[in-house]
Amino acid sequence: MASAPLFPLEARGLTVVLGGHTAIERIDFVLDAGARIAVLGPNGAGKSVLLRVLHGLIAPSAGEVLWAGSAARARDQAMVFQRPVMLRRSALANVEFALAMNGVRGPERRARARDAIERVGLSSLAARSARVLSGGEQQRLALARAWSLRPRVIFLDEPTASLDPAAASEVERVIGEIHAAGTAIVMTTHHLGLARRVADEIVFLHEGRLTERTAVERFFNAPQSPEAARFLKGELPWNKSSPEPSAD
């Protein structure tokens, strides 16, 4: 199982220009094995773009992403998109497809797929066509699909965005299990309570720039950058009324 070294994951001077718009600008960032990081920031701050460029889906316009010093895209990583895409086949078959593409075969493939689906609470829907599942169900299925690959880093783009409170706390529990299995987590979210409970560190983005990276308690009590302070002032009341699984 243990394969080539992956960590640290480093972003150096990462800049991404999309359609003439600078989505992220000169971001430096290091991620070590087992870390749990929440990327926060307002809509359009560049959170999703940062995750996609780290995951290797878009090439940076400047700067580089290095996995243990190498520019080659690492395989032991997975991502759950803000809007996951499912193939026109059953929920179970979607997970099995991901496993097949990563060289898992035979009975192990079926067993791992079933296990992953069970862990996100979708067993009763395993045979249903994935595309007709609700948004929240698809999001959980995407989490199962990513996790079944047993990645060493998982990028989660708003994993609880369209979930009801019960499903959100279920997903939070799953994220805890993923971390317990030794997987590093990089997650974006607008649920500050979730970030607080799940992450060890907060990375804050504002208009494409990284303004701070701070331990989670410190970030919420005394943010280091004025942008984050303003964000927290504006966002906290909204967050309190949002469907969070537990009160902080």
Partner: protein, 234 residues
């Protein structure tokens, strides 16, 4: 008017009475059209898929050429295949001119651009939507082609049926390379053309009715399948 009506009645009685000549023509038509559609899809679907997902120099030229080939004049294809297969031609030694194989070859060439161009369009749209997700799962662009084709199976069925329909209703090329030889290469379209000019309206009308019903049935089937898949697969 009376003539037409009585011809029509005769035509229906040919169909209903299981006229041997009529049904032999229909069977040959179905056979060659089905074979052409299968060959054209076997080549055209992967080809269209690859053009959709791969970046390569001259890609735009290929796409424009594919789309232009959609309007390929059938008689020109017939002429080219004739020249290829004629005794002095490069494939003359095969000796298949004026056989059903020559018809299959001409029809395949006519249907191939349709299948490839439509597949390219469908796969490219899907690739746009699936690209990041599939890449994230470790799927390369080339490996994505069969996955996308399978995911689009219900939409592509319409393409396959369109290809079959075009093959079955082809006349110009088939006349040139098949020759409409009674009992050998006489298919529905060439028979209709010839029997009409000879004045045997009942046979022509009978074949026309069958051809039309076939095309209608195919389109109804394609429509029903798409409706069904939209409900069951989203």
């Amino acid at each position: 008017m009376h003539d037409i009506l009585s011809s029509f009645a005769l035509a229906l009685s040919l169909i209903a009475g299981g006229d041997a000549e009529l049904w032999r023509i229909v069977a040959l038509s179905l056979e060659v059209s089905l074979a052409s559609a299968v060959f054209a899809c076997a080549l055209g679907l992967p080809l269209g898929g690859l053009v959709a997902v791969r970046e390569f120099p001259g890609r735009r030229v290929v796409i424009v050429a594919l789309n232009a080939l959609l309007g390929l004049p059938s008689v020109v294809v017939g002429l080219v295949v004739y020249l290829l297969l004629s005794r002095a031609g490069p494939l003359g030694s095969l000796g298949i001119l004026f056989t059903p194989r020559a018809i299959v070859l001409a029809q395949t060439l006519l249907v191939l651009p349709i299948v490839a161009a439509l597949a390219r369009q469908f796969v490219e749209d899907a690739w746009h939507e699936y690209r990041e997700q599939l890449t994230s799962l470790g799927v390369s662009a080339v490996r994505a082609v069969p996955t996308l084709l399978w995911d689009l199976r219900y939409s592509l069925l319409t393409v396959v049926l369109a290809g079959f329909g075009r093959a079955a209703s082809e006349v110009g090329a088939v006349m040139i390379v098949g020759g409409n030889i009674d009992g050998v290469t006489r298919v529905m379209t060439t028979a209709i053309a010839l029997e009409t000019s000879k004045g045997d309206l009942p046979l022509a009308l009978g074949l026309g009715v069958i051809l039309l019903s076939m095309v209608l049935a195919l389109n109804a089937a394609a429509y029903a399948i798409r409706e069904w898949s939209a409900r069951h697969h989203g």
